[in-house]
Structure formats: structure tokens, C-alpha cells
């Protein structure tokens, strides 16, 4: 089995995994990083959203080999120790989460959006496809706007 090394939430890791094993399962089943969630496995629900070199990706469809030598950030790597990322803070302020299952992905998508644009429009926010089956969309929208203002 091939071996891959990459930076995961600021730490370098090395893992044996089949090249085509989706990164989601390498993270969850081999490295014990459980923040990214399975919701569909085919790049539809976006529950697994994480960052590869700072860009939002869906590790359920990224082969592990593609992470080799790169930087992977999951929800666990977003805060700086106990200091939360402003987007996480905004999520707390708006009390967004219901069941919470989609929220790691929602937050990672929002962080990526705010990286691309400091002042996201409603249309930018509409373009986030992450499913929230609990229907917390309006609070997500408010939280993204609040985070943008705070940053």
C-alpha cells in the first residue's frame, strides 16, 4: 500500500492508504479526524467540506493520493487553540446549529467564501450548496454576514 505525507491541521502526518481511497475515509478511518462528515459520498451534500491548500474541497471525492505533499485543513484545524475563527464565533453568536451535523462543512464553506471575497453578496451566499436538513439557512446567512463584518 502506498504511503502519503501531508500537513493535516498544521501537523505533518504520514499514512498508508490505497491511492484512490477517498480522502474522507483516510481522514476518518485511518487518522481519526472525525470533523468532516459523510452525507452522500458523491460531492452533492457538502457535509465533508474541508480545505486543500486553503481552497474548499469535498474529500469524499478527492483521492488520498491528491493530498500528498499538500496542506489539508478540517474543521478541527480552524481555531487557533482555544481562540475560535471569526466564522466559528459568528456561528455561536447566531446560534446557528440545530443537529450540527452539516455545520463543520457549512463553516468550512463559509471560510473559503470569505477568503475569496471580503464582502459576500446574498448571491454569493446563495451559491453555497451545502445541505442543512435542519433548515438553518437563514441563520447561516446572518452568521456569514456577521463574520464578514467582524473580519
Amino acid at each position: 500500500m502506498p504511503t502519503y505525507s501531508f500537513t493535516l491541521n498544521g501537523q505533518s502526518v504520514t499514512v498508508d492508504a490505497p491511492a484512490d481511497l477517498p480522502l474522507l475515509w483516510t481522514l476518518r478511518d485511518k487518522l481519526g479526524v472525525k470533523g468532516p462528515k459523510y452525507g452522500c459520498g458523491i460531492d452533492v451534500c457538502k457535509a465533508c467540506t474541508s480545505h486543500l491548500d486553503g481552497q474548499a474541497v469535498n474529500p469524499c471525492v478527492v483521492p488520498t493520493s491528491e493530498a500528498d505533499g499538500r496542506e489539508v485543513t478540517t474543521i478541527e484545524g480552524l481555531a487557533d487553540g482555544d481562540r475560535l475563527h471569526p466564522v466559528q464565533e459568528a456561528w455561536l453568536e447566531q446560534d446557528v446549529a440545530q443537529c450540527g451535523y452539516c455545520q463543520p462543512g457549512q463553516i468550512m464553506a463559509a471560510v473559503a467564501l470569505l477568503k475569496r471575497t471580503k464582502h459576500p453578496t446574498d448571491a454569493d451566499i446563495d451559491a453555497i450548496e451545502n445541505v442543512c436538513r435542519c433548515g438553518s439557512y437563514f441563520r447561516i446567512r446572518e452568521a456569514i454576514k456577521a463574520a464578514a463584518a467582524a473580519m
Binding site: P36, R133, C134, G135
Partner: protein
């Protein structure tokens, strides 16, 4: 006429009254319509007005209510193991608030966890019917009041002062002369059986400080940092293998033979295979490998239970099953309407999942479970083990909407673990979750309302629905409570649930709502608001059409016919705050609707942009809710927002097509649940001030929003909304079976 039994009348009294009345009233009114001079034709109370499903659940839970205990530890922390399931409703936060308020302890010193299956609780460990807060409000506060009284008594004994001179504030016990003691140091003495304690009753509402205060979720930080652990995030059964199941091409088909077992066993990462009742399980090192292997399996399947069925055949059966109307349509002015609702997947974000370790004559299970006692009993029986050998742990769930009343994954995981002789972590794929998971049953609705001279004389609603499965313990509860039920005769469980949840909130004269079920062996289950989303949603559309028939404004028409002031107040609130009647551009419109259930009521006013009639968007929503006593208004707003989002999805685009005995949809790209781009950019929720005891709130938001959205769509497009979801093409290539 009041919609709830007033204080001073015993429920027994009302039961007697109800059982004697409606049939007689029907006959009388049809022969002799009331004179037109009457303001409105009053409607006798429906069964749900007398005793709703929530009341039944509270009564069933009452004998074991004193087994819910509050514990004070030596560390000064206060704990309660809640015999309910948290799936996002915020009940652990709300219950912690009840305890903190009663004990005068800071909220962050209260721990609310989810209790394992406790068979001794009998009927007091089922999460459903919007009933958690209603059913634990008094028991939890009483338990906390007892804890407080014991702490006070222990401090009084230690200081040798009368208990009346001891108070509790900020989590500290305070005596005369500024003496203080912490909860922790008093906990042992407070637990002593010889301690003399007076009676303890919960504080009156006027002394509640936290209850009613908007409070953020206590688990929110864990959720935004990725630390919140759902079933498959747990490391509880060392060596438990990622497991997935290959399922049949039609619902409930059984495995005849596995045709390439050796080849699949040789695939990378595959550890074991096991054939169980529901399919072929693959145990592997990772879920990715289990998924590849299960897809590679070649299996010969036996027939399923509904192989010949599709949307058309099911609709035909439903139309044939709906009962005829009692009121003649020919001689009176009337509004008739028929509606069809498709199957709807629960589709919680976390698919069915469970961890099971069945070895050495015992079993241990972890899963998100709303009826863990029934799960435990069923699994024990299935495995041939005594109940005492099966431990069932309740794990916080990633959404439910009724889904986790069933324990399909827990039972399946137990069977696989037993067969393989290894602990397993079972995950259903999303495709399987939508196709072989549970769904809200499809239904057909026939409504006739007769009216004359500005009054509504009769309102009949005939519902025909594919059978809804209630075999998660509710049936047993209803059987046990049958003597108290406000319905007589030989009703099925489903009809009993229907009659104790659905009621018309209007004085529309003689009102009858009936349910007929079409038995089809499909995987169904209660879906948020059970029958009300469809039944009351359809009725709210007819209310608009009745208003039009009488040339009245839909808001004013509702106002005129609603039964009480509480109802009118929420309706007025949305009309005012949502600017009912403001001019809208072509293709845009407002819609309004009302709903009452479980002693709560709500109104919803939406605006819709239907300039593209195939892709309408709800642009704004104004919601008001009166839940009697909101414990956590912030959490309540979340629930109403969720209900609105559910209504947008299921009214406009989200449903399941059935073809050749299987749903076609297998992902959110096919089952079009609402996304951000379809959700309104402007939502306002108003929680009415407390005026009584808590009513139900978890499901309340859906039916009124369904009605409001459909009514707005009707006004914007000039079309009658009749078949749901309104836009429902097969706009995808179905996944292979």
C-alpha cells in the same frame, strides 16, 4: 368555543362530553342548518381539542415520571440523564435551563446527558409528538425542587438554623450571618435518608428567571469545532469494523444467493461478509473500501413486497380508498378540492448508523434512538438474548424529523455483529437511506366545504394515506392508554394518532376529518408533524378558496372564523409585521396560513417570487408562534425556521418517485430538499409572551408554512395547487439498483 379544556373542568368530564356529542351534532346540523344571523357556526371540540397525542404521552409517562432524577455531585455539578433523544431540537439546553432556574445554579454547572435505554421507565422514554418539554416540564422542575430542598435542609442542619433562614443563590447555599456552603460539600449530607425535608414544589412562573430567556445551545461550541460526536464518530467498541450493506433492487427483497463472494472477499480492505435479512453486509478496514466492495457484489434477489407498485398504481389505490362525503354537493354552495402528496424522505444529514458488539452472550449497541426501550426489547428478542444482556446507549443524532423513532440500523448492526462474531460500525449509504429508509407516506385528500350567507356550514376532509408504520412503541402506548383516549370504536393506531393530532382551528360548522389507510408494505414512518403537514396544509388552501368564494380577504376571513383570541393574536401579528396586503409586482404574491396543535398555535405569512413558475422562490417569511410558555425562545425560533424550510422543500420540489417497487431518488441532487438558494433572505420570527404551560413546538412550524407557501404560489401563478411537490419532474438519471 374554547379550543382547550378550561381550568376547573376535569379531562374526564370533557371526555364524556366529547364521546357523546359529535355524531349527534352531525345529524342535527345537516337536517337543520343554523340561522344565518349567527356570527359563526361553532364547531364542537374535536378529539384533539380534548386530549391530544401529547396529553396521551404525558399520561403514559406519568407513572414513571418520578424516576427522572436530578443528581448533585461532590464536585458541585448538577446532572440529569434525560430519557429522551437530542437530534437538534435543543432539548438538552432547554432541560438544563429548567434545572438551573429551579436550583438557582448557573447554567454552566448543569450537565444534561442522554440516558441509556431504561426499561423500567416503560412508556417514558419515547421522543415524539413534540412532547419532550411538555412531558418533562413538571417532573424535571419537581426533581430539581426536591434537590434544592434537600440542599437547604442539609445546610440548615449543619448550621443549626431553621430551613426557612437558608436560601440558594448563584449556586451557593446561604445562611444567616452570611454563612455559605457549596452544593458539592453539602451533597453527601443532602442525600442522607434521615434528613428531614419539607415538601418541595417548583417555583411559580413569576419567579422563573432563565425560563423564557433566549439562550444559545450548550452544544454549539462542540458543533462548530467538530468535536460533537455522532454515532460513527465514537471510539467505543475497539476493533469495530466499518460496515455497509448491499440492499435489494426493490423494497424488502431478500437475498437468494451471493454470486461472487470469493472475488469480493479478495478485494482490498475487505475483512468479512455476512448475509442478513436486509441484505449482504461487508465489513472492511475503511468505509470507502466497504462501499466499493458492496457495490461490486453480485447478488440474486428474491421479490420485494411492492414490486409492481409505482406512483400511478399507488395514487389509484389512494383515490379508491378515500371515503365519500356526507354533505351533498348539489344543493348547497360548496368548495370541493382534491390533493395528492408524494412520499417524502426524512433524509436526516446523518444517515442510518449504529455500532454493535454482539459476542459472548451479550450485546452492546450505540445509536441515535428515539425509542430505545423498544429497540432494546426487539433486538434482545431477535438475538435470542435476555433484555438484561442487551445494553443500548442513546447517542445524539444528526437530525431525525421522525426517522429515529425506528431503530432499523441498530437492529441490522446487531444481526451483522452476531453473524460475523465481530463488533461493527454500520453506516447506510445516502442512496440506501433514501431508497430503503423510511418516508412520509403518500396521501390523497378530498375536501368539501359547504357555505351560505357568509357562513361555513360543513367542512369535511377525507384523507387516504399509505399505511404509516407506528411499530416503534406508540402502538403499545395507545393500547395501554385506550381507556383515556378521546376516541371510541374500533380505530386503528393510525386513526387514533390522526384524530389526536389533527383538528380544525375554525368555526366551520360540522367538521369531520377522517383517515383511511391503504396497506402497502413499504418503509414508512411519522415525518415531522405526522399527518398535519399534508392534512392541515391542504385545509389551509381550501380556506383561501372559501374566502375567495365569499369574496373575502384570506386574512380577514381566517380572523372571522378562528375559534379563539390566542389564535387571532398570532394571525394579527404576522399580518401586521409582514405587511399583509402590500402591493406586489406581477408574478410575486403573499400567502398566509394558520395552524394549531399540541396546545400551541402559529401563523405564517410568506412572499413568493414565481416569475419563473417552475422555480419559485420564497423571498420572505414572517412567523408568529404562541407555545403557551416558551422555555427557550431562541431554540423555538430555530425550530420554526426548520419547519419553514421543510415546508419550502416539500411544497415546491422535494419528494420521492416510486417506480417498480423502489424510490428513484438517491441523493440530495435528486430529492430536492431546500438549499440556501431556495431559502428566503428575510425571515422574522415572533414568539408570543408566555400565557400558560408549555405546548408542543418541534413540529408546529410545518403545516402553516405549507399552507402559506401554497397559497402564495396560487396567487402568484393563478393556478390551483393540487399535487405536491408542485414541481416534480424526474430531472435526473436514477442510480443503478
Amino acid at each position: 368555543m374554547s379550543s382547550s379544556p378550561s381550568a376547573g373542568h376535569s379531562r374526564r368530564h370533557f371526555l364524556t362530553y366529547l364521546l357523546a356529542t359529535p355524531t349527534l351534532a352531525v345529524a342535527a346540523a345537516l337536517v337543520d342548518p343554523p340561522p344565518v344571523a349567527r356570527a359563526a357556526v361553532p364547531t364542537p371540540p374535536a378529539p384533539a381539542d380534548v386530549l391530544d397525542l401529547g396529553d396521551v404521552l404525558i399520561l403514559a409517562a406519568a407513572p414513571t415520571a418520578n424516576m427522572i432524577t436530578v443528581a448533585v455531585g461532590e464536585d458541585g455539578r448538577v446532572g440529569l440523564a434525560l430519557p429522551r433523544e437530542e437530534v437538534g431540537q435543543g432539548i438538552t439546553t432547554a432541560v438544563a435551563m429548567l434545572i438551573a432556574d429551579e436550583l438557582d445554579v448557573p447554567l454552566d454547572r448543569v450537565d444534561v446527558t442522554l440516558a441509556d435505554a431504561r426499561p423500567e421507565l416503560v412508556f417514558n422514554q419515547l421522543t415524539g409528538g413534540s412532547n419532550t418539554i411538555r412531558s418533562v416540564y413538571t417532573p424535571v422542575r419537581t426533581a430539581a425542587a426536591v434537590a434544592r430542598a434537600r440542599l437547604v435542609a442539609a445546610a440548615a442542619a449543619r448550621w443549626g438554623v431553621p430551613a426557612g433562614q437558608v436560601t440558594v443563590s448563584g449556586g451557593v447555599v446561604i445562611g444567616p450571618g452570611g454563612r455559605t456552603a457549596g452544593f458539592g460539600e453539602l451533597s453527601t449530607a443532602a442525600a442522607s435518608p434521615s434528613l428531614k425535608v419539607g415538601t418541595a414544589t417548583p417555583k411559580p412562573a413569576s419567579q422563573q428567571r432563565l425560563v423564557g430567556t433566549p439562550t444559545s445551545r450548550r452544544d454549539a461550541r462542540a458543533m462548530v469545532t467538530g468535536r460533537q460526536a455522532y454515532t460513527l464518530d465514537l471510539d467505543v467498541a475497539p476493533g469495530a469494523l466499518p460496515t455497509m450493506v448491499r440492499r435489494p433492487p426493490t423494497i424488502s427483497g431478500a437475498v437468494r444467493s451471493v454470486d461472487n463472494e470469493a472475488a469480493v472477499r479478495a478485494m482490498p480492505g475487505v475483512v468479512d461478509l455476512a448475509v442478513v435479512e436486509t441484505g449482504v453486509a461487508v465489513l472492511a478496514e475503511t468505509f470507502g473500501q466497504a462501499l466499493d466492495a458492496k457495490n461490486a457484489l453480485q447478488v440474486t434477489w428474491g421479490p420485494g413486497t411492492v414490486d409492481g407498485e409505482d406512483d400511478d398504481s399507488i395514487r389509484e389505490k389512494l383515490h379508491a380508498a378515500a371515503l365519500p362525503f356526507a354533505a351533498p354537493g348539489l344543493l348547497t354552495q360548496h368548495v370541493d378540492a382534491e390533493f395528492d402528496f408524494a412520499f417524502v424522505s426524512h433524509a436526516p444529514m446523518e444517515t442510518n448508523s449504529a455500532i454493535a458488539d454482539v459476542r459472548d452472550g451479550k450485546a452492546e449497541i450505540w445509536a441515535g434512538l428515539k425509542s430505545p426501550i423498544v429497540a432494546q426489547e426487539t433486538i434482545a428478542k431477535d438475538l435470542g438474548l435476555p433484555v438484561s444482556a442487551v445494553a443500548v446507549h442513546v447517542v445524539q443524532g444528526g437530525g431525525s424529523f421522525g426517522r429515529r423513532l425506528f431503530f432499523d440500523a441498530a437492529l441490522e448492526a446487531a444481526r451483522i455483529s452476531k453473524k460475523a462474531g465481530k463488533p461493527v460500525k454500520l453506516m447506510w449509504s445516502r442512496i440506501d437511506d433514501m431508497r430503503h429508509g423510511r418516508a412520509r407516506a403518500a396521501s390523497h385528500h378530498r375536501i368539501r366545504a359547504t357555505h351560505a350567507a357568509g357562513q361555513v356550514l360543513t367542512f369535511e376532509h377525507r384523507v387516504a394515506s399509505v399505511e404509516t408504520d407506528f411499530r416503534h412503541g406508540l402502538g403499545e402506548i395507545l393500547t395501554a392508554m385506550s381507556a383515556s383516549l378521546p376516541v371510541g370504536g374500533n380505530l386503528s393506531f393510525a386513526q387514533t394518532v390522526f384524530l389526536t393530532t389533527v383538528k380544525s382551528p375554525y368555526d366551520f360548522g360540522i367538521t369531520t376529518q377522517t383517515l383511511t389507510e391503504v396497506p402497502l408494505q413499504m418503509h414508512t414512518g411519522s415525518w415531522r408533524s405526522v399527518y398535519s403537514a399534508n392534512t392541515r396544509g391542504a385545509e389551509e388552501i381550501v380556506v383561501d378558496e372559501l374566502a375567495a368564494a365569499q369574496r373575502k380577504d384570506p386574512y380577514r376571513f381566517r380572523r372571522e372564523f378562528l375559534e379563539d383570541d390566542r389564535s387571532r393574536a398570532v394571525l394579527d401579528k404576522v399580518a401586521t409585521e409582514g405587511q399583509w396586503g402590500r402591493p406586489m409586482p406581477a408574478g410575486h404574491a403573499q400567502g398566509i396560513a394558520f395552524h394549531a396543535e399540541y396546545q400551541s398555535c402559529t401563523a405564517c405569512l410568506v412572499e413568493i417570487d414565481a416569475t419563473n413558475p417552475d422555480r419559485p422562490r420564497v423571498t420572505k417569511a414572517t412567523i408568529a408562534a404562541d407555545v403557551g410558555r416558551p422555555v427557550n425562545p431562541r431554540g423555538l425560533e430555530s425550530q420554526l425556521l426548520g419547519g419553514l424550510t421543510d415546508a419550502i422543500g416539500t411544497t415546491l420540489r422535494a419528494g420521492l418517485h416510486i417506480r417498480d417497487g423502489l424510490p428513484l431518488e438517491g441523493s440530495y441532487s435528486q430529492f430536492h430538499y431546500t438549499r440556501q438558494a431556495e431559502s428566503p433572505r428575510d425571515v422574522r420570527v415572533f414568539v408570543m409572551p408566555a400565557n400558560g404551560e408549555p405546548g408542543g413546538a418541534g413540529e408546529l412550524g410545518v403545516p402553516a408554512a405549507v399552507g402559506a407557501i401554497a397559497n402564495a404560489w396560487a396567487r402568484a401563478t393563478g393556478r390551483k395547487p393540487r399535487s405536491f411537490p408542485l414541481t416534480f419532474p424526474v430531472d435526473f438519471d436514477p442510480f443503478p439498483r
